[in-house]
Structures are given as structure tokens and as C-alpha cells.
Assembly symmetry: C2
Homo-oligomer: 706 residues x 2
């Protein structure tokens, strides 16, 4: 009898295990932990024939050709060599097949593996920010108190700037991370010079943030330049280590221009930058003398009636140092161009109605170019090989999905780390000719025990029939086509985003499955303005944000209404940031469609958004008053009907609280009821465990009102 | 046939008129307009035999004895005399039977009525603040840019101080209007000197307010000294008009003391003040030489184990200038004492377990004292006459209610402006002997067309049986005792308040009738700590705010639960400010009782409230950590269950937004759902037409959740 009970219990566990409902906690906490597909750690090429990865406390080496695997190094080995103690096998990178750079809590150690000894050691202070290491590992640059410092190999710490603070910032990212910028330190290839951004934001208005958690609330302002207002001034300094002298590039004015995509020439004599005017419609690729700071020449220019958005630094040829490659959207799609340093266009290496998303590398002679790109499907990202002479492009990655490449040093092999709609994560090894050598890793399906709604792609058309629009529909669990279901549209819709693609689960968030398990259809669609669809698709929204995006989203609604199992009286919408803006657009322009809406950290009026992003898409308020007026959500408050909730992080430095406050004020003024919540210590997004509170609030709003 | 229809329509209007439901708009907008009982305008004594009042554009005079009424003066007459133009009959006051002071938009004109001419004219700048006129009308003092100025009769404007600004404030109220303070200018009786407060708040921490309505949000800090933190320093300056010199009283330190109830001696030689230490448990009545600024003597002291709260300036005898009267709670109840200027107590004029609320005046020989006070019922305010010799007290006002007196110049007559539970507003004329001469005015019932729920008083007991507790119960319209009704408790509960008394409708707010018309029982009860009940009743809550008040409110709940028509599962609570604090106390200490709660502008933690009020009742946080901990609502968040909404004005300078933010933060931290709304441009209270939005929000929260 006991045995029977045990068997029954086991059986029921199996049944229940396969039928598990996704909880909100699963959806939120699981996203980055137990519901995230597993992958390999530290996978990287050691040399042309072998790659390495971390397994437990050890570094394993695998021969590419044979697949033969062996233990290369243990944590203990590394501790013996370095004299350090590590909690786990540390961060590392290969400088070549013998030399590794090992990360310590505040430094890097260069190791000679054959001789088991330290080659050099760099240590920087614990409060150092923005640390950058030279390729050779003999130098680090970092920022302390808005000033640039160097840590040299002989334990020398050197202060490069001293004017940091009070609105002057050295060595940090500028232009609010637009234009592909993600740092402010540019070490020269041989390690003799350091270029760095200097930002003067003394003329930029303070946005008043308040730290409510202090004993008595504290004023903690940030510099926030709003569209049409005075912008910060950026210059580029070049510090010469030997002479100890700093030269600033003589870029000329107006000083509210954008200095982007800084690149050193291989010989360290020149610095190249894509310089963009404040209007963002005229880019010059300029070359400066690193020693003199004077402009040598303008290599070429790009102009546009909408905007030019340089995102990728030039990459110098290793074969001919007078040539470089550049990833540009000048023909309407991101493609690779080859120029010489006179600015002469030598060749367009890729072309066609698809987008190159990354230059992976070249073979040693640079006759073969490897790129990632959409190739034959804007919902995929493939690893492609381009024969430079013939221009012929062939896909190395084969399976439907989103592929990321790691090329072996001599370009004989490609590691393809990818996932697809039904594939949580695979790592495959290919030859450069596209022959699958072997599968290296396959992630288990982390949600195999859950009962999930069906997830399917839909393809619609813009109202004018010009473009395809791609959507993702998740049906409720235990879907019954004879019933009517409410819908929650999750929207983002802003430039540089693509929510629907052919990655794992079509890139759905687990929260959508959670709502599906609560009986809602979860729908998401990318509208005009979003990524990977070419310049025209993106720029149609220029100067009138919200208008065409909304028109496209309504196409999605029309589709939903055509489905017999959709209850057209119960449609809700939720989005954050640009998605909050879209949520307000949808709710206020179509109150008859959207019964319930939750707008998180929403842009309400683009004149309150920052200059770099805002003016690119809207121009200045003084140049485009009509466009700003049309996209000002406070002007649509009169249409408000039904349930709308705004949510805002009280410390939001991206879409500042002023947006929600002005919207609420207008609602109160017009005696329109609206709901609101503030997350006191959170910035633009509510992350960590508090996100459960947030998504409980969002979910409850739909559960109670929709 | 047509006639019949007309008659039917007329009839139905009558019926509907008598059955009108109170709308939210009526309740809120009507409160200060069409639902406010009418009264008389400008009612004041001209001389011993006649009073005057404004009727349309005219000033009417009535002889007290005969009641004979005549037109005294029209607006046009006044315009002819003054040379000014008035929209309506202007603000005025009688200096004597012949001389009037007339208000102009930025000044005062003294008129000789018999000779129809201007005696003097004072004009001050349009941006003048805090304007004070001398009794004789020949001098005004005012503040501009935190500096004190004088406007003299010969058109001379004189600047008295020049150090105002940047944390120095001259001539304005200090100590956050506590201790009866409502201004910072004290003109001497004969008009030769001006005493004024000087406040140095440079050492007080800024509380960061933000004006979200600016182009880019602006930082607009206010000085806000929180309990236990550094407080402002106040001194008293005396400006001598003839010499043009200013003397500051040499009050000594510590400088964070309180200088209160400033009074000039009749001869202008001395200034008397009730000086209180920061701890508020030791008061000295001190006398200073006005010319020297030096202390002459301490007349007497009051000490307490809880606090001394001087609220009323001394009033000099007009018969003997070396004697004065003082309204003090030294025996546990507010009573009138007579001292001489040596500080000798001559006589306690009133006594017993009741509170004198105001000294009205005396007869000419000062043998009869007239006061207002609770006398035989703490829910009433009566006009009483005290025979000083015998101590015998007799009521002049007879009817149940709240009475306010205006004594004729020779104390022969009293005008009694009063209202009672069933009386919207009456004005009666009495002789000083308590004989009703006549009714002067009776206000119509402004809600006679409305169908209102029954309003009744209930008397309960504190849990220990020691005190009576008074409550007001409003039954739903169309009440059916066989049904079960939900209850909304409206609470305030803080010191100096009394929500339930025997004024018109027992002082109910119309909003409570509105909720009654929506089917809710509206209940309100005054707990320990509230006003007019003596010192002991008030100070029991000392150092532990929220504890006994909550215990008392629960007595009210027990009573409600004992009523067969109360649904004990549907009890909600709403309050603002101290009432917000009480709402949190009730919701969090008794989550099983209160299903729904709305806390407006709530104090969450007394350590974030200001020094003057906060430390009186709680001492400093460093002196009473246990008390602060017990009354810190963030510590009770773990008990939260059901619906709680916090509402806060984003510009609140009284209970700062930090209170709500810290509470929300704790809710998020503990993953407790809570609702919140912010009124972007509103300070501590949401007033004006936006109050409809607020009370719609509050009402909906109960309608939807309770």
C-alpha cells in the first residue's frame, strides 16, 4: 500500500511538474536566474587551433579540429602563479596563445603561462571608475572625482587632469551614450597615448532630483539638457605619456556639436572622429594630428534631410594601414564600406535591403569579410561571409534564429552562439566555409515544466501597405478558441528597439506568459521607427513621434479584432519609457479601443526629454513647434476615459518625473481621474526584487479593471 | 391640458426640490459658497448706542435700544469723501463714533464722518506683505523682500531693516505660527515704536521642493527644521520712529528658544513676552525696557512635566496700568488670572473644569469680565459674564450652540453671533445682563431642499472609563434600520482640534452627507489629545502620539459594531494631515477592522515633522527614541492588508512629501501593495476647484473597494 502511494505521489509530481503555471515571481525573478537558458562561461579563442572555457574552478581547452578537451589551468594554478586568492576562476582574456590577462578586484595581472610567471601587474584605487586597459596590459586609465588618472606598470599612478568637478567631467562617456558612445577613454594601440573626452556641462541646467531617504530629504541635482536648451560642450584631450603633455583637438565651434566614434590610427599619429552638428544632419569624418591637435583633413561627409547617426567607429585594415572599413547607413541600410585615409571610397563591400549589424572580422589577407546581419530575414541575425572581390555573401549560420559569432584568430573557425524560437541556446562550431564541425553546447529548456500559452508570429501590413509589420501573439494557457479573451498589448515602439524577432520564444517576456496564464492574450508588435528595417522604415516617424507608430499599432488592433476569440471590449496596453509614451498615445488617441492602460516612466512631452536623443527624432522645439504639439500628451488629456495609471521612478534621470507631474497636473486641471504610483528610490527602471512589486501592481491593474 | 402639464411640472419640481441628493460638487464647492449659511457683513459697534452693518452698497446704522435702522453712508458718499473708487462698500473699522478707517487696495484712509473729510491716508507698495496699521491709523508697517518698512502719514516710506534675505527674515511670523503667533509686527499703542521679529534661519536645513511646472523643473527649497535638528534663532527688534534707532531685546541664549505673545505696556516703555525654552517645559513671562533692550524682570514662570503652551498675550487693565489679565492653563484648564507688573498674582478670575476660550472684554470699571468658554458643556461655546468680586459666572447666551460675542464699547450690550445643531446662523442682541433685546438676523437653512441623512451625537467612554468621548453619526439617506450599512470614519484627532461640537450640523462636512447619500454611515469622534477638554485630556497622548488616540477611536468602532445596522466587515477611514497619521494608525494597528483607508498628507514619522509642533508633543527624537519608534508608521507596514491609499501635495511644506515617500519605500521593500496619488502644484491641502478631483478620488476609492 505504501508503495502504491509513493508511486502515485511520484506520478502526480510528474503531472504537476509538466502543468506548472507561471507565477509572477517566476516571470520576474526567473528572468535573469532560473528561467534564463544556461550558457558556457569564458568561452574564447586561445589561438588558431584551440578555444577555452571555464568549467567549475578550471579552465578547459578544446582543440577545434578534433574536439579533444583537456584541463588547461585550475584556479589553484592561477593563485600559485599570481599570488592572489580568487573566489572562483577569475575573469580573463587571451593576449596571445601564451599570455593571459587575469582580473583582480582592482587590477589586472599579465601572466606568462609557459613560464608560469607574472609579466606585469596593474593596480588601481578601489574607487576608480571607467577603468580601461591597454591591449598589451601594461597600462590602465581610470577616473576618480571626474579626473583622469593612469596606472602604469611600475606602480606609478599619474594624474592627467585636475579641472574635474563642478560641471567638468574628464574621461567619461558623453552625449548621454548616444552615437554608440559607451566610454570616454581611448588608449592608443601601442599604449603611448590616452585620448579622453572632456565634458563641460557648467552651462547645462540642473534637473532637481531629491533623495527622500536621507534624514531630511536632500537635493541631489543632475545636469539634464532638455531639447532646445543649452547643451554641454565636449572636447577631446590627448595625453602623451612620455612627455606628460596634453593636447586638445582643435575641433572649432559651435561647441554643442557631437564628437563620436573616436579611433586611433594604428601608428598612433592620428585620431579619427565622426563629428556631427547639433542638428544631427551633417556628419564629417575628420582626422587630427595626435601631437598637434590640429585638423589634418575631412575625409568624407554624410548629410541627411532627417538625421545622420554614426554608431560604429572606423576599423583599420591590418593589411594596409592606409585603409579602413566603415559601417554606414548612407544607402539606406547598414553596410560595410572600405575607404582609404585620403577619404576615397574604395568599395562598398555589402549591399542590398538588409542590415549589417556588426563587423566580426576578416581573414588574414582581408579577402573575406565576416559580418553579422539580418540578411534574408529582418527577424533574424546571421553570421555571413562576404567574398570581398566578388561581393558574394554566404550564410555560415544555418538555423533560424539570432546568431552571435566569435571568429578564431586566423579566421578558420567560427563559434556560433545562437538561439531560435524553439531553441533556448546552442553553441556550434563552424569552419569559415560554413561546415558544422560540432555542437559545443545545448541549453536545456528552462520552462519545460511550465504550461505556457502558444507563442506565434504574425505578419501584418502598415495601413498604406508599404511595409510588413511583425507581431507576436501569446495565447492563454488552456486556450479554447470558442471563448472570448481579453488582450494586453505590450508596447515599446521606439528607435533602436525590436521586440519581436526569431530569438528564443520570439523574445517574449515571461510576464506575458504570466498574463496568458491569467487568461489574457499577450500581443506585441514592432511599428515604424524600430530597428533592423532600414533607414526609411525608421525615419518615417521623424518630427512627429507617436503618430505613425500609433497608426501601425492600430493595424495590430484591427488584426486582433478580426480574431473570433478576441473580446474587442477588453483590450489593455502597457509599456515603459518610449513604451509609456506609446501607451499614452494609444490610450488617448483611441480611448474607445483601450479600456485599461499602464504607462511606466512615460515621455509626455518631448520638450522635456534630453537633447541628443530628442532632437535627433524631433528637431528642436523652436524648429518644430507643430510636431512637439502633436506629440504632447498633455494636450490629449481631454480624451481620457477609463482606467489609466502612470508609474514613475522618483529618481528617474532618463525620463524625469516632471513628465508624469505635468500629465497629472493636466488631469487634475481638467478634472479627469487618473491613477499614479511612484517608486521612491528607483531610477528609470524598477529592477531587482522590487520589480515584483511593480509588476504585481501593473498586473493587478489589468486583473481588476480589464 | 397644457395647464395640467404645467401644474404637474411645477409639482414635480417641488417634490424633486425637497428630495435633492447632495452631489460631490455640492459638498465641495457649496461648502464655502451656496451651502454656507448667510450672515451679515461688516457688523460692528460704532459707539455705545449703535452698531452698523453693510447692506448692498450702503452702511446701515441700528440703534441698539430701539432697533431703529437708518442709512448712515453709501459707497458713493465714501467715494466723494475719499476720492477713491470702490467696487463695493469697502472694508472699514470704527476708530470712534466719528472716525473710520477705510480700506483701499494698498492702503487705509482715516475719515472724519461729521466733517466728511480725510484725516490721514496711508499708502504702501503693492507687493507689501504683512501690513499692520496702528490703532490710530497714522502708521503702517509692512515687509518687502524680508525687510521691515514703515509707511508714515506724510507719504514717507522708511526702511527699518536691511539685512533681510538669504535666511534672514524681518517682520514676519516666526516659530511656524505656533504659540498663538500669527504675525511679526507689533506696533506700540501710541504709534511711536515698532517691535518686530527677526528670524535667522541660515542654520536651518533646506527641504528640497521642486516646481515641476517650469520649462525645466526648478529647485525651490524651503527652510524646514525637523524635530531634533538645528532650529532657527529669533530675536525681537524695537524700532524707535523718532530717533530712527533699533534696539534688540537682550534675551540671552540658548537662541533656539521661543519668543511668544509680545505685548507693549500701555506707556510704550516696556515689552512683555512669554519666553519658552526649546524643550517647551519652562515659560517665563519677562519684561524688557523698550529703549534699552535690557531685561527688567521675570514676572512669573510656568513649568510642566509635559509642556507649557502660551497662546494668549497678556492684556493690560485699562483702569490700572500696573495690572494685566492673562489666560493660562496653569491649573489644568484655561482660566483668567490677574497679575500686577511686579509679577504678583492678584486673583484667579475664573475656575473650574471648563475652558475659557477668549477674553471678550470688561465693563468700564473692570468689575465685570466677559469671556467665551465651554462653561457647562465642552461641545458648546458660550458668552459668560464673570462678577470679578464674587467670582460668580452667568451665561449671557442661552441657546445650545457655539456663540461668538461682540461687546459694545461701554459693555452695555453684547451681539451674539451663533449657530447650533439645528440653527444655521443667528445673530441676537443681548444686554450685558443677559436679557435678549432682539434677534438681528436669522440665516436660512441652505440645505433645506436636500435629502440629508440623520445627524446625531453619541457619547462614549474611553476604555479606562475616565473620559467621555463625543462622536457624530450621520445615517444614510433613506435609512432602513433593518439593513446593514458600511461605515466611513472621518478622523483628525490632533491637538487643538475639535471636529464634533454643537455647532450647525454638529460641524459635519458636507462630504459626509454626500457619502451618506451614497449609502454609507459617516462617523467622526474626537479622541484624547483634542481641544476644549482640559490639559490632562490633551497631554495624555504626550510622547506617544497615535497610541491612545487609536485606542479611543477603537471605542468608537466598538460602538458602531454594536449597532444592528452596521456592517462590521465594511468599515473605512479617511483623514488628512494628523488625520492622515490617524488613518495610518487605524489601518495598520487594526487591519482586521479597517478594510479601506485613505490617508491624505499623512505624518508617517514624527522625526520628519517640524520642531515647534513636533517636539511639544513628542520631545526630541534623541530624548524619546522609544516614543518615536512606536509612532513611526513605516514600522507597521508589515501589518498592511487590504486597500490603503496615500495622497500628498507635491508642494506640501507642512507635512513634507518625504513622509509618503518613506512609507511607499517601506511598502515596496516589504512587497506590500499600496495606492498613491500626488497633486503636483498643491501644498498641504488641495483647495479650490481641484478639491473636487481630490474628493472624487477619495470617494471612488471607498465606492469601489468598501
Amino acid at each position: 500500500m505504501k508503495k502504491l502511494i509513493v508511486i502515485f505521489l511520484l506520478l502526480s509530481q510528474v503531472i504537476f511538474a509538466q502543468q506548472k503555471q507561471m507565477s509572477l515571481e517566476d516571470a520576474i525573478l526567473g528572468r535573469y536566474t532560473y528561467l534564463r537558458p544556461k550558457s558556457m562561461s569564458g568561452l574564447s579563442w586561445r589561438n588558431a587551433s584551440a578555444y577555452t572555457y571555464i568549467k567549475g574552478d578550471s579552465l578547459m581547452q578544446v582543440l577545434a579540429k578534433s574536439g579533444k578537451e583537456e584541463l588547461l589551468l585550475t584556479k589553484t594554478n592561477l593563485e600559485t602563479i599570481s599570488g592572489e586568492t580568487f573566489r572562483a576562476f577569475p575573469f580573463f582574456s587571451w593576449l596571445n596563445g601564451n599570455e593571459m590577462l587575469i582580473g583582480t578586484p582592482n587590477g589586472r595581472i599579465k601572466i606568462d603561462l609557459a613560464n608560469k610567471k607574472i609579466l606585469s601587474k596593474i593596480t588601481y584605487p578601489e574607487d576608480a571608475e571607467e577603468v580601461q586597459f591597454s591591449e598589451k596590459g601594461n597600462l590602465a586609465a581610470y577616473v576618480e572625482d571626474e579626473n583622469l588618472f593612469l596606472a602604469l606598470a611600475n606602480n606609478e599612478l599619474r594624474q592627467v587632469t585636475s579641472d574635474g568637478g563642478n560641471g567638468i567631467v574628464n574621461g567619461k562617456s558623453v552625449h548621454r551614450n548616444e552615437f554608440g558612445i559607451n566610454g570616454g577613454i581611448f588608449l592608443s594601440p601601442k599604449g603611448n597615448c590616452v585620448a579622453f573626452y572632456r565634458k563641460d556641462e557648467t552651462m547645462v541646467k540642473d534637473y532637481p532630483l531629491v533623495d527622500f531617504m536621507a534624514r531630511e530629504a536632500e537635493y541631489t541635482p543632475v545636469k539634464y539638457p532638455m531639447a532646445g536648451m543649452e547643451s554641454h560642450h565636449v572636447t577631446l584631450g590627448v595625453y602623451h605619456i612620455e612627455s606628460g603633455k596634453t593636447t586638445f583637438l582643435n575641433t572649432g565651434g559651435p561647441l554643442d556639436h557631437y564628437l563620436t566614434n573616436v579611433t586611433w590610427s594604428p601608428d598612433e599619429k592620428y585620431i579619427y572622429m565622426a563629428e556631427l552638428n547639433r542638428e544631427q544632419n551633417h556628419m564629417q569624418l575628420n582626422c587630427y594630428g595626435a601631437a598637434t591637435g590640429e585638423k589634418v583633413k575631412t575625409l568624407f561627409e554624410e548629410k541627411s534631410e532627417t538625421y545622420v547617426e554614426p554608431l560604429f567607429p572606423i576599423e583599420f585594415s591590418k593589411v594596409n594601414p592606409n585603409e579602413f572599413y566603415y559601417l554606414s547607413r548612407q544607402d539606406g541600410w547598414f553596410h560595410v564600406y572600405k575607404y582609404n585615409t585620403d577619404g576615397k571610397l574604395l568599395q562598398q563591400l555589402t549591399k542590398g535591403e538588409w542590415e549589417v549589424t556588426r563587423i566580426i572580422g576578416f581573414d588574414e589577407k582581408e579577402t573575406q569579410l565576416f559580418v553579422e546581419g539580418t540578411f534574408d530575414d529582418p527577424l533574424q541575425n546571421h553570421i555571413c561571409k562576404v567574398d570581398i572581390k566578388s561581393g558574394e555573401v554566404s550564410k555560415i549560420s544555418q538555423q533560424e534564429g539570432i546568431h552571435n559569432a566569435s571568429l578564431s584568430p586566423d579566421a578558420a573557425y567560427v563559434i556560433d552562439n545562437w538561439n531560435g524560437p524553439e531553441v533556448p541556446g546552442n553553441i556550434d562550431l563552424y569552419t569559415a566555409n560554413g561546415k558544422l564541425v560540432r555542437n559545443i553546447f545545448s541549453a536545456a529548456n528552462p520552462v519545460k515544466d511550465y504550461l505556457l500559452g502558444e507563442n506565434k508570429l504574425v505578419t501584418l501590413k502598415t495601413k498604406d501597405g508599404k511595409y510588413d509589420l511583425y507581431g507576436r501573439l501569446i495565447l492563454p494557457t488552456n486556450f479554447d478558441p470558442s471563448k472570448k479573451y481579453p488582450v494586453i498589448v505590450y508596447v515599446y515602439g521606439g528607435p533602436h528597439s525590436q521586440l519581436v524577432n526569431k530569438s528564443w520564444q520570439h523574445q517574449a517576456r515571461w510576464w506575458q506568459y504570466y498574463m496568458a496564464s491569467e487568461g489574457y492574450i499577450a500581443f506585441t508588435m514592432d511599428n515604424r521607427g524600430t530597428n533592423n528595417r532600414g533607414r526609411e522604415f525608421e525615419t518615417e516617424v521623424h518630427r512627429q513621434l507617436g503618430i505613425l507608430e500609433t497608426e501601425d499599432q492600430v493595424q495590430g488592433i484591427e488584426y486582433l479584432k478580426s480574431l473570433p476569440y478576441v473580446d474587442p471590449e477588453r483590450i489593455g496596453v502597457h509599456g515603459w519609457s518610449y513604451g509609456g509614451f506609446m501607451t499614452l498615445n494609444l490610450k488617448l488617441r483611441h480611448p474607445e479601443v483601450f479600456k485599461v492602460a499602464v504607462a511606466g516612466g512615460p515621455v509626455v512631452d518631448w520638450s522635456m526629454y534630453e537633447i541628443m536623443y530628442g532632437e535627433r527624432y524631433m528637431d528642436m522645439p523652436q524648429e518644430n513647434p507643430g510636431g512637439y504639439e502633436k506629440s504632447d500628451m498633455t494636450r490629449l488629456v481631454g480624451n481620457l476615459d477609463g482606467n489609466l495609471m502612470l508609474i514613475h521612478g522618483a529618481q528617474d534621470e532618463t525620463v524625469v518625473m516632471q513628465h508624469s507631474m505635468k500629465f497629472l497636473r493636466e488631469c487634475v486641471k481638467q478634472n479627469k481621474q487618473v491613477d499614479f504610483f511612484a517608486y521612491p528610490i528607483h531610477p528609470h527602471n524598477v529592477r531587482g526584487k522590487d520589480r515584483i512589486h511593480l509588476m504585481r501592481k501593473v498586473s493587478d491593474y489589468f486583473l481588476e479593471n480589464l
